[in-house]
């Protein structure tokens, strides 16, 4: 009887295992409940793959961009507005992975661990979400792209709020085109080029090379470079310049966007210093922008010959940059060396989304030097009247593509502390930066200035 009594404790082991299982179950509900409840297979929320009931999505001025009416998702009444805000708002099916519909769906449906989705089921309402974007500005930017592929981003470099988050091509979520998967004009339509695109940066990268030069060549300000229309690297190979600039100072080299000068500077700096600067500027990092991981830039000189370093210094070679990250670079320069991480969702529930996380990118002194160089660019090159009353500085890029039309770039920022906005414009295969990207930036910034 005694041994038997002891052996009965085997039951205790089974009970313990069962209780451990229950604890595991509770923990997994605590950890993953939000993901599970917001699954597209949840019939409370989705019907035929479409989100049915969820909170509204508003822009910074309270314009309703999406809402649920009688179990159907309705978007803004203006088709152009729908297309312009598609990548920020997202679609009802979840094709746009970086849109608020997907990124914030647990908030939109009002899930929490205590109530589950009780409020949505019983009262038919989730939580509203306010975006930081200005829908009107987005529409203007989208129209300025006039059917070309590319993106326009604007953010406040003091607060991190993204006011313009436009990617093209786009489509109307209420009338999704039938040929979207086959027609080449919709190539990469679900991608948000601002957050997840990667493009050869062209001359906008000269800002990076300049940063490196200011930090590493003490007398860079008094140095001169000679340009005869091209630059020959020490190990052979030629970089063609966009002009015949003669003798130029460092500042003028940026204003003229002189490839000869910057290739020479790049080779003098060498691959280690350039790589170090690129990393310090965070250009090869991915940032969490309201829950969307941005694309990491690519800068790899490990197998580069001297001539390749020369090309890399002017934003060619194998280098690829993310537009939002380049916008952050302009913001950091204008903001004195640091920038908050941008965000486009203003949370109604907690401050976790859109909390002000800054990243230090360069010294205040370096930033000041770059500010005056960029400002000089606008005043003496693109024309200050394109950005009236904004103390604007910027840099264009015309990224050469093998056998294709160049990408047109512009990155810039207002140096006025009372108007702390930075912009990036990329027109894919659009042509020259000054001719194509600057007018778009000008239009958008003027509209923002009002």
């Amino acid at each position: 009887m005694n041994t038997l009594t002891k052996r009965a404790y085997v039951l205790l082991g089974i009970i313990a295992a069962f209780l451990v299982g229950l604890v595991l179950l509770a923990v997994s509900f605590f950890l993953h409940g939000g993901t599970w409840a917001t699954s597209r297979a949840n019939g409370h929320l989705y019907s035929g793959g479409q989100i049915t009931n969820a909170g509204r999505i508003l822009d910074r001025n309270g314009v309703v961009l999406a809402q649920s009416v009688n179990g159907k998702r309705k978007f803004h009444s203006d088709a152009e507005m729908r297309k312009a805000t598609l990548h920020a708002v997202g679609d009802q099916y979840g094709y746009i992975a970086c849109g608020a519909h997907t990124v914030c769906r647990d908030t939109l449906i009002g899930y929490n661990r205590v109530e589950g989705i009780f409020r949505l089921v019983s009262e038919g309402e989730g939580n509203d979400i306010t975006l930081t974007i200005d829908a009107k500005l987005n529409k203007l930017a989208y129209q300025a792209l006039s059917g070309r592929k590319g993106c326009v981003g604007v953010y406040n470099y003091k607060t991190g709020e993204i006011l313009c988050n436009v990617s093209a091509p786009s489509y109307d979520p209420t009338n999704k085109p039938a040929d979207i998967e086959t027609n080449s004009k919709y190539e990469g339509v679900y991608l948000n080029r601002l957050l997840n695109g990667l493009f050869t940066p062209g001359s906008t990268f000269k800002l990076v090379t300049s940063t490196c030069a200011i930090d590493n060549i003490p007398d860079i300000g008094s140095r001169t470079f000679s340009c005869s229309g091209s630059f020959t690297a020490p190990g052979g190979g030629k970089v063609i310049c966009n002009g015949r600039h003669g003798t130029v100072s460092f500042g003028k080299a940026l204003t003229k966007s002189c490839n000869s000068a910057f290739s020479a500077i790049g080779i003098e700096l060498g691959r280690d210093k350039l790589t170090k600067t690129v990393n310090a500027l965070g250009l090869c990092e991915s940032y969490n922008v309201s829950g969307v991981r941005t694309a990491k830039g690519r800068f790899d000189l490990s197998k580069a010959a001297a001539i390749d370093v020369g090309w890399a210094a002017i934003g060619q070679y194998t280098t690829l940059m993310n537009p939002l990250n380049m916008m952050m670079l302009a913001g950091a320069i204008a903001g004195g060396g640091a920038t908050p991480i941008p965000y486009f969702v203003r949370s109604t529930i907690s401050d976790t989304v859109g909390s002000l996380k800054t990243t230090n990118r360069m010294s205040a002194q370096t930033a000041a030097t770059l500010r005056s160089m960029m400002r000089d660019n606008v005043v003496n090159n693109y024309g200050d009247q394109k950005f009236p009353g904004m103390s604007f500085g910027g840099k264009t890029g015309t990224a050469q593509m093998n056998g294709e039309k160049s990408h047109a770039w512009f990155v810039g920022a207002s140096m006025d502390a009372n108007f702390p906005y930075a912009i990036v414009v990329v027109v894919q295969n659009g042509g020259g930066g000054s001719d194509v990207a600057v007018p778009i930036a000008s239009k958008v910034m003027k509209a923002l200035k009002g």
Partner: protein, 425 residues
């Protein structure tokens, strides 16, 4: 009896039953009236029939306790409280999804209660148990053989037979016999011959379940067998051999039976197979999480529309509609029962009762774990029912019968025997 002795008796009574049965019964009745009433306001059809069923259930419940306490002299009725609480909860949950099924489920509870009472009577004397164990063993094997011959393929498992329009699951009935035979044989396990014949019986049962492709039930039998063997033998070598053999067998089954392999393919990867072999598990997770702690309300769930919602997936239905707190309370009550069984087994009057009580509690917990953790993807999904709660008659009868085994280990169940034993000592 002197006044002093009377007081003594009252003291022990207080000690053995920490909560007064009447208060417990009133509490359970209150819970049942509230939950049943809510279900009645929610269902769209057969309200009158369901009302009659709920009412009859309450009458039967009260009748049982009044008779058991006063006529049969039962002094501890905690197990019955839990059995009624759980069956009642199963009844309202099933009725909330299929109002037309309420009557069938109620009849199953009645048969279960009957089985409970009869089994308690049979278990009173070890002589009766010993006399019956060979016929029961033969009956079990016969039933499984009959099942193999007549079975209809159901969900890929051949574990149902149809008798006059009523489908029964013989393996559920065999569970009762398995413990009965096991406890009886193992008590008097002296010769190698009786060990061999018992092993042949057990392997026959598990083997038949493999042939029926009812992997979940086979696993339950196997675990129960291990617990019973451990309770009796104590010889680690024997257990090791048996265990190794069985594990090897199970491994071969997994290897050879594409059906089992396919079922296990989705295990821990249910989201990758969410529209085929992971369908049920992902739906349980989605809708359980939707319910939160307090549920979406009876009738507001969506899991009820998923296949097998009131059988295999009923835990998810409870999570979604009644909330996680209620669902966890339901399953935790089985852990309480197991602790209770352990306590009884330690003071059991003979090995038969200790083995029967521990094996029954183990079987219930293993089956509960396979169900709850199977549908939530913590364990592979094997498609077994949630005892007392799931829709289905044979499962209900088996649950009540297992409770009878636990209760039979309590000497207070047999007041006359208790007095005899006290007199002897």
């Amino acid at each position: 009896m002197s006044r002093l002795a009377n007081k003594e008796e009252q003291k022990t009574r207080k000690k053995s039953e920490p909560f007064h049965w009447l208060y417990m019964l009133l509490l359970v009745t209150a819970i049942q009236i509230i939950s049943g009433g809510t279900v009645l306001t929610q269902i769209q059809e057969a309200q009158l029939e369901v009302l009659a069923v709920f009412g009859s259930f309450l009458v039967v419940e009260w009748l049982y306790f009044v008779l058991a306490r006063n006529l049969a002299g039962q002094r501890s009725t905690e197990l019955e409280i839990i059995a009624f609480l759980l069956s009642g909860f199963g009844l309202v949950t099933v009725a909330s999804v299929y109002p037309n099924y309420a009557l069938k489920q109620f009849i199953a509870i009645l048969i279960g209660l009957g089985a409970f009472v009869i089994l308690l009577a049979l278990m009173r004397n070890t002589e009766v148990v010993n006399a019956l164990h060979i016929p029961v063993a033969v009956g079990c094997v016969g039933l499984l053989a009959l099942n193999l011959m007549l079975a209809k393929v159901h969900n890929g498992a051949l574990n149902w037979i149809n008798v006059g329009g009523i489908s029964i699951q013989p393996s559920e009935i065999v569970k009762i016999g398995f413990i009965f035979v096991g406890a009886a044989t193992l008590e008097k396990l002296q010769s190698a011959r009786s060990l061999t014949s018992y092993l042949v019986f057990s392997l026959g049962c598990v083997g038949a379940l493999f042939l029926m492709r009812d992997f979940g039930t086979a696993l339950i039998f196997f675990c129960t067998f291990m617990v019973m063997a451990f309770m009796r033998s104590g010889d680690i070598k024997t257990i090791g051999l048996i265990g190794a053999g069985a594990v090897l067998g199970a491994g071969l089954i997994v290897y050879f039976k594409p059906y089992v392999a396919k079922r296990f393919k989705a295990y821990r990867h249910v989201w990758e197979y969410m529209n085929d072999s992971g369908f049920q598990q992902t739906r349980v997770l989605i809708y359980s999480a939707s319910g939160g702690l307090f549920g979406l309300g009876i009738g507001n769930g969506r899991l009820r529309k998923v296949y097998a919602s009131t059988t295999d997936l009923i835990f998810g239905v409870i999570c979604e509609e009644w909330g996680m707190i209620v669902a966890f309370c339901v399953v935790l009550s089985f852990a309480f029962v197991a602790v209770y069984a352990l306590r009884l087994a330690r003071h059991a009057r003979s090995t038969v009762y200790a083995i029967a009580a521990v094996a029954s509690a183990a079987l219930l917990l293993v089956q509960l774990s396979l169900n709850v953790f199977g549908v939530t993807d913590l364990l592979p999904l094997t498609g077994v029912t949630l005892p007392f709660i799931s829709r289905g008659g044979t499962s209900m009868i088996c649950s009540w019968a297992l409770f009878a085994f636990i209760k039979s280990a309590d000497i207070k169940t047999y007041p006359k025997l208790e007095i005899q034993m006290e007199e002897k000592s």
